[in-house]
Structures are given as C-alpha cells and as structure tokens.
C-alpha cells in the first residue's frame, strides 16, 4: 500500500516537472508564449475538455468509461441553437440543452447498469447515436446569430483579468469534484467500486446507483461544456467538438488514473489538462495544424498507459532479481 502511494506521488511529481519543462520550452520557442493574451487563449481553448475530464475521472476510477461525451456536447449545442433560432429565450434553450445532456447520460447509465453491459461498447454505440441525432436535428446547417450576452460566456474575461468565464466555471466544478472524490464517503466508495466491484457490493455500496448517477452527471456536464463551446465559437453545428472524447480520455489517463479503475487523483488530471493545453498552444504557435497535433495527442494517450506498464514491469524484474539475490545469499 505504501509503495502504491509513493508511485502515485512520483507520477504527480513527474507531471509537475513536465509542466514546468513545457512552460520553459514554450517561452523559449515563442516570445508571445508568456503574454497575458496567450494565457487567455490557452486556457479558454481547453476548458470544455477540462470540464468534461472531471466526471470522466470519476467514471474511470469507478472502472467504467464514457466515450460519448463529445457527441453529447454536439447534441446539446445543436439543441441550444435550434431552440434559439426558433425564437425561444436563451435561458430556455440552455436549460433544454442541459436536460438533453442529462437524458443522454441517463440512457447510457441505464444500459450499463440495468443490463450489465460494458460501458465501453454502449458508449461507442451512443457516440455514434448522439452525434447522428445532432446531424438529424440540424443537418449541415449552423446557427450563429447568438446574442452578445451569451457569447460573452465564451469570449469574455472576468473583470480586468485574463481569466475566461469558462475558467471560473471549471475552477468551481474542480473544487466540488475534489471535495467529493477525495474528502467524502462517496469518493471512497468510488475507489472501492473500481478496485473490486463484488467486494464493494457485499460491503453495502449500491454500485449500480452510483454508476447511474455518474453517467447522468457526465451527460449533464458534457452538455454544459456544449453550452460553453457554442458560446465560445458563437456557432451551433452538429460536428462541434468532433473527436474530443480522445482528448478527454487522454488527459485523465495522462493524469495517472488507472484505465482499469481504482486508482488516480484529480490533482494529476488537472496537471495533465494544463500540460495538454500548453502542448497544443506551443504546437499552434509553431504553426502545426490541428490534424497533425492529434497525432501527438494519440501518441500521448498510448504512452500514458504504456509508460506506467513498462515502469511496473521493470520494477517487478528488479524486485525479483533482488529477491533472488537475497535468497542466494542466505543459502
């Protein structure tokens, strides 16, 4: 147990080092990197992914996964746009978009818990289904005539600072999630579920109810990210945030959360979010296109699982050798 803890601490320490190194490299590569405006661009660019990574962390720690988040974001964005276009007030459109997200998450959760189906498969299906519904709702159109009061949510900054409004939303959510995961009973129950589902059930945890709630939460938060995304680009399109699920899963795994559940912390994930943001920002400053950037993110995703695996294997080999050496000495 102690060794496990030190391993986690070293992973997060590694992330801090990585963060510092990427900031240094960024400031060396471009004189604009450390400017206030670049900080604004960098953070507002990643906030939707950051917000969706919070519930994703909880879901993966509980041993499940939700690959449909980016599709829910797109669907919510399209619903918002359609309702605004057809003359409904903005608050109504936002509320409806959030409701659609909660419902989409509820359907995911229902299929995963009631039918005991793996979330991996269900959410690959709903990834296609929700994105497809977004196309059905809006076709190849886009809604873009949103009021400034709404788009300020995406563009605007707080007071005279360079902090975007979406950054404030993320900060508040992050604090709530940290309290729930690391300082509450439900948080510890999530780790228990991820470590051993059967044992968790026998110790009186309502595993299915927890998982259902997680998927509903994930859907709702993805819809919230959809509202922010729509405001930031002032555009509701069915292909909004296409493929973002990759980046969300990447930051969570890079943050040191075990893909098989039961291990990980939000501190690591938050660090990973900023590392990814800086990486994307630097590549952007170097004029590397988004399509090629995703090559790097894909690589990062694989390495973030492959790296710890190889490290663990080396550790096993070393301890085995040590044991062998120790026993031969005794003989």
């Amino acid at each position: 147990m102690k060794r496990l803890k030190t391993l986690l601490i070293t992973w997060e320490a590694l992330l801090v080092v990585l963060l510092v190194v990427s900031i240094v490299i960024g400031s060396m590569l471009s004189p604009y990197f450390l400017s206030g405006f670049n900080f604004y661009a960098l953070t507002s660019n990643i906030m939707e992914i950051a917000i969706m990574a919070l519930p994703m962390t909880l879901i993966i720690i509980a041993g499940e996964i939700d690959l449909s988040v980016a599709s829910i974001l797109g669907l919510a964005s399209v619903v918002l746009g359609l309702l605004w276009q057809s003359g409904h007030p903005m608050w109504f459109a936002i509320a409806a978009a959030l409701l659609v997200g909660l419902a989409a998450g509820y359907l995911n959760g229902l299929l995963v818990t009631k039918l005991a189906l793996p979330s991996l498969v269900i959410t690959i299906g709903s990834l296609a289904l929700y994105r497809g519904l977004a196309y059905v709702v809006l076709g190849d159109q886009a809604v873009s005539n949103f009021p400034t009061s709404f788009t300020n949510l995406g563009f605007g900054t707080i007071g005279g600072t360079e902090i975007p409004w979406s950054g404030l939303i993320f900060a508040i959510l992050a604090i709530i999630f940290v309290v729930v995961l690391h300082f509450s009973r439900s948080g510890r129950q999530l780790y228990a579920i991820g470590n051993n589902k059967e044992a968790a059930r026998f110790s009186g945890i309502n595993v299915n109810r927890m998982k259902l709630l997680l998927f509903i939460l994930s859907g709702g938060i993805a819809a919230l990210a959809g509202v922010i995304f729509t405001a930031r680009f002032s555009s509701a399109r069915p292909d909004n945030a296409l493929g973002f699920e990759l980046e969300v899963v990447t930051v969570v795994l890079l943050g040191g959360v075990d893909i098989f559940g039961g291990r990980g912390s939000l501190l690591g994930v938050v660090l990973a979010i900023f590392i990814l943001a800086i990486l994307q920002n630097v590549l952007g400053l170097l004029n590397i296109s988004g399509d090629i950037q995703s090559l790097g993110i894909g690589l990062l995703l694989i390495l973030s699982v492959l790296g710890p695996n190889i490290a663990r294997r080396i550790q096993v080999v070393i301890t085995r050798r040590r044991l062998v050496a120790g026993s031969s000495k005794q003989v």
Binding site: L129, Y130, G132, V136, S289, I297, G298
Partner: protein, 349 residues
C-alpha cells in the same frame, strides 16, 4: 431422486457440452434472424420503390459493401479474441493514400507491386497495434483509439509533404480497373471480398488457430491454462486486421479514384456496427465471418434503401449507433434467455 457418483459424471459432462454450445446457438439464432430482417427490408422497400429490386441495384449494394466487408472480416478476428480495433478507418486511410500516391509517382510500375505495397503497409500498422496491445499490455480500446489518431495524423503528415489530393487522372488506368473489372459478369471487387470471407471463414472454422481464437475470446484465463498462446494469437489477429485494411485501402483508392487525407474517416463505426449486428459477440468467443458479412450487407441495404426512399443521409450515423446498441442489448437478452432455459432444463432432469 438419488444419484450415484457414476451417474452424476456423464450428466455434468452433458451440461458442460450444452454450455459450450451456447455461444454457437446464439450466433445461429442471430444469423437466421438477420436473414429474416434482410428479407423484410427488401420486401418493404421493394413494394414502395420497385426499382430497389433490380439486379443492377443489388450489384450496387454489394459493391458498396465489399470494402467494408473485407475490413469487417479482420475486425471479426480481433473481436472474437475479446479485443477491438478502432483504428481500421485510419489504416484504410493511410494505405489508400500511400498506394494512390505511389501509382501517381510511378505510373508504369507493375500493378501487383503497388497492391503488395499497400498490403505490407497495412500489415505493418496492424503489427504496431498488436505489439502495443499484446506485449505493451495496453487495453485494445485505448491503444487503437490512440493509433486511430496517430495513423490519421500520419496521412496528414504525408499529404503535407507530397500532395493534398490524388485524382483519378493521376493514376494508371490499370489501377482504377481493379474496381471496375468484371469476371464472368460479377464485379471483381465483390469476388475479392467473397473469396477473402470464405478463406478466413474456413480458417476460423477448421484450423487449430481458428478454434483457439474462439477459446481465447470466450475464456482468456482458461485458454491460458490449457496452453494456448493468447498474446501470440491476439497479436496476429491485430496483424491480420491491419493486412486486410491494407488490401481494403488499395481497393478504396481504386474505387473512389480521388483520394485525400480524410478518406475513410469514421469507417470504424460502420465496420463495428456491421460486425456486432452480424451477431459477433462484442465480448469475444462467438460469432462467424458469415454473420459479420451478412451484417455489412444488411447495413448497406439499409443505406441504399434510405437513398431510394429519399430519406436524409443524416440519419445514417444515428442508425449505425442505434444498430450497435440494439445488437448488443439483443445479444444480452438472448444469452440471458438461453442460459435460463438451459438452467431450468437442468433442474428438471
């Protein structure tokens, strides 16, 4: 009822045999059901639009399905071994682009050489997937989600250093003829897909490795225990998937003639939908190549029907998603039902 020890043993064995047959029964039920669904679609759409029933239209459907079917055959091997390959669309994309560009640059080169190049490239990509999953111990969903983007990024890198698009006029006519040639009145594309499905289907059914693949998928731990080289088989399943994607990419370039860096994006969803709709259990261990190809044909027919009935193509992706979820849910119900009937039968005897 009193039983002696000697009587219990054969009864136990019978039950074990029955349980072992369970996945087989499930897939047979699924394939028959799917055939019925296919006939129903043909009947309903045929009544509304008679031109749907023409021989020409059926050929069109099979043509549109052929490439997806080839990829689905490889995907079936991977899924049977309780894994998944999400990178197929990107692998087809890479090989289609590279092969087309190869023919553009060297128009007088031997046709076979280009085909072999595409297949070898696909095999290489598949081997990379296999290494990461089997020997790097990265869950296949994460590994191939990663390579989906890495391989796609690779096409963009290649395109940015060469050409943004290869057009039909750039490549030799021989290459394009791959997709249009007919042998005995049947398009070569359909024949190639059929031959591959038959060969791989026979291999799965009759060869030792084929049977072992089912064993790995239905119970990995037990497969390990009886000495099956699980990692080795999973590795080759991924390699085979890559190889078939390579071939599919070569044919993709020939069929669509105009190839850019985004070609075959999202193909993985169509392929996985076809495989699971075809009754291949997404948790591995049961399903057939015939089922997967049938699944591809059903989805292709559905797409064609939407076209003919003038229903928006925007519905397609939603239908694929619903088909994946529906097939998995249906599988869960059938398995549960079969298990219950077998259990009750066991209680009665």
């Amino acid at each position: 009822m009193t039983t002696t020890g000697q009587e219990v043993e054969p009864a136990k064995q019978r039950n074990q045999v029955r349980q072992a047959r369970l996945p087989g029964i499930v897939s047979r039920v699924r394939e028959l059901g799917l055939l019925a669904v296919l006939l129903l679609i043909i009947l309903i759409v045929g009544i509304q639009a008679p031109r749907f029933l023409s021989l020409d239209n059926f050929t069109q459907i099979l043509l549109s399905v052929a490439i997806i079917a080839i990829v689905a055959v490889g995907e079936t091997l991977v899924i049977l071994a309780r894994n998944v390959d999400l990178s197929v669309g990107s692998m087809v994309g890479v090989t289609a682009f590279v092969t087309a560009y190869f023919f553009k640059e060297l128009p007088h080169i031997n046709l076979l050489l280009g085909i072999l190049l595409g297949c070898a490239l696909g095999l290489l990509l598949g081997i990379i997937n296999g290494l990461i999953v089997s020997y790097g111990r990265v869950p296949s969903i994460v590994a191939t989600l990663g390579t989906l983007y890495v391989f796609r990024g690779l096409v963009f890198v290649i395109a940015s250093h060469t050409t943004s698009q290869v057009n039909a006029s750039d490549v030799p006519a021989d290459y394009l003829a791959l997709a249009t040639t007919q042998i005995l009145g049947i398009p070569a594309l359909i024949l190639i897909a059929a031959v591959i499905a038959i060969i791989v289907g026979y291999f799965l059914h009759a060869s030792k490795s084929g049977r072992q693949l089912y064993a790995v998928g239905s119970n990995p731990a037990a497969a390990d225990m009886i000495g099956i080289r699980r990692d080795w088989l999973v590795f080759w399943a991924f390699a085979a998937s890559g190889l078939l994607c390579g071939l599919a990419g070569v044919l993709w370039g020939a069929r669509f003639a105009t190839v850019d860096a985004t070609n075959a994006t999202g193909l993985e969803l169509q392929v996985i939908a076809a495989v699971v709709v075809g009754g291949v259990n997404i948790f591995g261990g049961s399903g057939t190549i015939f089922g997967a190809v049938l699944g591809a044909i059903v989805l292709g027919t559905l797409q064609n029907a939407l076209n003919i009935l003038n229903i928006s193509q925007f519905w397609l992706q939603a239908i694929y998603g619903a088909a994946i979820i529906g097939a998995v849910v249906l599988d869960a119900f059938i398995t549960r039902w079969l298990r219950r009937t077998i259990l009750s039968r066991r209680k009665n005897t």
